[in-house]
């Protein structure tokens, strides 16, 4: 509402700029007057018709400690609500709410229940509100919430490295072998990169929507995700295009960044599944993720096959693309609220889309046949190879 340049030409009666600002008053005054009148006279009283208020409660985080469960809940009803009682596995238990009292719309509180939960077993917690409505939180398999101990961090870092950094490194090690590919081979590799990025885009977006669905309604999950994706896309475009169109090492860094954002999400998911006891993350699954991610290294290597970057560039690329998996597992195994993860994965999806665009443009620029290279048999086979490889290896880690 601040673009004065959009304000119509100031009428002659106004005195310079000050007068221009004065003209912003009437619309606000009108709005304030009408809203004030509506509240004062309660025009809509007859619309309630005795219906109870709509209530909603979102459970954003849960923490299990020895002999205690705690939940971060967020109220999201049409009016303030109160949590009157709490059931655990169909029994009423004493609990402590912090802060106490009624929860205003959008307000959060911690509900802490002393409860002898059973390791590895499922518990259902039911929050009963003052109107008797119930909201459920399910602990799929109870395990203590990880705390940041040295041993915990070490094993999580190892998993993150195996899932993120190792496969990218392995993929980048194909660099010398790939250097001698001809023009067709190059086209194939770049199209393969586009294919795997397309898979990652869909995957990231889907995860973002899933998390958005778990977030409180007032965060408007889907809109949040798509807006974040648009912002991610535009910001990365703006940054990337400051010095012309990216190619070579710059493009490789873009691909690494997009993949890194996705791997952060992957880490988040693994860490979260780990922490909620949902997944016994066996060696097989970790290895499955690693194999699944090997193509990412090949994709990153594609734009720099014709340049000879120093070794530290490769190290940086591997860390940018794979490192976020470590970070994601750390954060995912600790508490996070779904709306933040959804926002982040939305940005990630937008960034990946931007990288897809850049790689495609690079492919067009570096070919003799212009845009038609995108639908050449080599491109299509590369694209589908990337997608199919990701799809097939993902099947191994599907739960």
């Amino acid at each position: 509402m601040n673009g004065t340049e959009n304000v119509a030409k100031a009428p002659p009666s106004s005195q310079g700029n000050g007068g221009r600002w004065l003209w912003l008053l009437p619309p606000f005054l009108l709005l304030a007057a009408i809203v004030g009148w509506l509240f004062a006279t309660d025009q809509f009283a007859n619309l309630s018709r005795g219906a109870p208020p709509i209530e909603n409660l979102t459970i954003e985080r849960s923490v299990l400690e020895d002999g205690r469960m705690s939940f971060l809940v967020r109220a999201g009803g049409s009016e303030a609500m109160a949590i009157a009682q709490v059931q655990v596995d169909a029994a009423y238990w004493q609990f402590v709410q912090d802060p106490m009292g009624t929860l205003e719309r959008g307000q959060t509180a911690w509900i802490s229940i002393p409860y002898p939960w059973v390791l590895g077993e499922s518990h259902t917690v039911k929050f009963v509100t003052n109107t008797g409505a119930t909201f459920e939180a399910v602990i799929a398999a109870a395990v203590p919430t990880p705390t940041a101990t040295a041993g915990q961090l070490r094993s999580q870092t190892l998993i993150g490295a195996v899932v993120g950094i190792l496969p990218v490194t392995v993929g980048l090690m194909f660099y010398p072998a790939l250097r001698n590919v001809g023009r067709q081979g190059m086209t194939f590799l770049l199209a393969l990169t586009v294919g795997l990025l397309a898979f990652l885009f869909v995957d990231t977006l889907e995860a973002a929507f899933e998390l958005a669905g778990a977030a409180a309604a007032l965060f408007q999950g889907p809109v949040l995700v798509l807006s974040a994706a648009a912002a991610g896309f535009l910001c990365l475009t703006a940054i990337g295009r400051r010095s012309g169109t990216p190619q070579g090492a710059a493009l490789a860094f873009y691909i690494a960044l997009g993949i890194g954002l996705h791997n952060f999400g992957e880490g988040l998911a693994i860490g979260a599944a780990f922490a909620t006891g949902l997944a016994g993350l066996g060696t097989f699954l970790v290895v499955g993720f690693a194999v699944h991610n090997i193509t990412e290294g090949i994709g990153i290597a594609a734009p720099i096959l014709k340049v000879r970057p120093p070794l530290r560039t490769f190290v940086a690329l591997a860390l940018i693309a794979g490192g976020p998996a470590v970070l994601g597992i750390w954060i995912g195994s600790m508490a996070f609220s779904p709306q933040w993860a959804a926002l982040f994965l939305g940005i990630g999806a937008g960034a990946i889309l931007q990288v897809i665009l850049e790689v495609s443009l690079y492919l067009v620029r570096s070919s003799l046949s212009g845009a038609s290279v995108l639908i050449s048999p080599v491109s299509l086979s590369g694209f589908f190879s990337g997608m199919i490889f990701m799809y097939v290896t993902a099947a191994a880690v599907k739960i």
Partner: protein, 378 residues
């Protein structure tokens, strides 16, 4: 591929589907600058929590170990107190008719009323005389009964008595069904003696029952009519010296489905979840106990009553003067089944003796209480 890893919902039936978010460490949360409630206080709560507004202390806290509703119900606002309900017999107004027969007249009014059924939980009830369960109507075998029934509720209602009466007095559609604002007078003789009930018989019956439209209807035996068990009959007849030697109480086992999903969220004896756990019923060791127990629980096939550390005699539906079950510590009742329990704590040391439904779930959702056995109730 990521999506399945974010799935925390085993897909159970739920009122509103909720997905518990991933769990986190208090240490990390304390430093989490997301503008949410600080986790710091939570991390420091090392003592067993008690709601500041309702710290329940003393021996009976140990008995439930934290597995109990939090807080207290405002009985004054409800307009009835579960403690008082135990012995609040409604004898109506008695007059002698010209033919020598005793006429007992009761007045019952229906009122829509929001009641607090557990601390902080409000239920939009339909009530007889503003209370759930409704008034405990008590008469003597053979008396003429007249129940003046007025419906100030928002739906049609009736009183259907479990007893013997004419079809016209049955409280079903076409026989004493009363529209909002209307009135009907039920008239019949009190028989058979026993522990009975009345409830609304408007349709849908389920909704009318579970909204709170039920109450005790107790007919004491006339000792003159039962010479073979005159002593027993006299002990049952309210107002006699023999009856005064008994500690009598009325319990209606009921439940409330607060989210209207066909399953009760709260169970109780006399409406208020856990009321007799938080305030145990004081009984004297030196006097026998008689409970008029009535089950009106909706949505569950049966309810039950189990007494700890003791056994009782049971009179199914109260229509006999000798026990129908001897020396049991558990009885089951389906909806509208009821009976009389007789026991004593003569040989027990004073202390807290639990009683509850022995479907654990019903007990843990509110239907449990305790007798505080003392030398003499003052």
């Amino acid at each position: 591929m990521l999506r399945s890893w974010f799935r925390f919902d085993p897909g159970r039936r739920r009122f509103f589907s909720l997905v518990a978010a991933a769990v986190g460490g208090a240490a990390w949360a304390a430093g989490n600058a997301s503008g949410q409630t600080s986790h710091g206080d939570h991390a420091q709560q090392e003592t067993p929590p008690t709601n500041a507004a309702s710290a329940i202390m003393g021996d009976h806290q140990i008995a439930h170990g934290g597995m109990i509703t939090v807080g207290e119900v405002d009985n004054a606002r409800n307009g009835f107190d579960p403690d008082a309900l135990l012995t609040d017999w409604d004898g109506g107004i008695v007059e002698i008719l010209p033919d020598g027969m005793t006429l007992r007249t009761f007045e019952v009014e229906v009122e829509d009323k929001e009641i607090e059924i557990a601390p902080g939980v409000f239920f939009p009830a339909w009530t007889y005389n503003g209370r759930v369960p409704g008034p405990s109507l008590r008469a003597k075998e053979g008396e003429r009964l007249r129940i003046i029934f007025r419906n100030f509720g928002s739906h049609q209602h009736s009183m259907h008595f479990h007893g013997i009466h004419a079809a016209r007095m049955d409280g079903v559609p076409g026989a004493g069904m009363v529209e909002p604002g209307g009135e009907f007078v039920y008239e019949f003789d009190a028989k058979p003696f026993g522990c009975h009930l009345y409830h609304c018989h408007a349709f849908p019956l389920t909704r009318h029952m579970h909204k709170g439209m039920y109450g005790a209807f107790i007919i004491d035996p006339d000792p003159a009519l039962h010479p073979e068990h005159e002593e027993v009959a006299r002990s049952r007849l309210l107002g006699t010296p023999e009856n005064a030697k008994w500690q009598e109480m009325m319990m209606v086992m009921n439940g409330f489905d607060t989210n209207f999903d066909g399953e009760n969220e709260f169970y109780a004896a006399n409406t208020i979840a856990h009321c007799y756990a938080k305030k145990p019923i004081r009984v004297s060791r030196n006097m026998p106990v008689r409970i008029y127990l009535i089950n009106v629980t909706e949505f569950d096939p049966i309810n039950s009553f189990h007494l700890h550390a003791n056994f009782f005699d049971y009179f199914d539906q109260g229509t006999t003067l000798t026990p129908t079950l001897k020396t049991v510590d558990l009885i089951m009742q389906c909806q509208a089944q009821r009976g009389i329990l007789e026991f004593h704590f003569r040989d027990h040391e004073p202390g807290l003796y639990m009683f509850h439904a022995h479907q654990s779930e019903l007990a843990e959702l509110g239907w449990m209480g305790m007798f505080d056995v003392v030398e003499d109730v003052t």
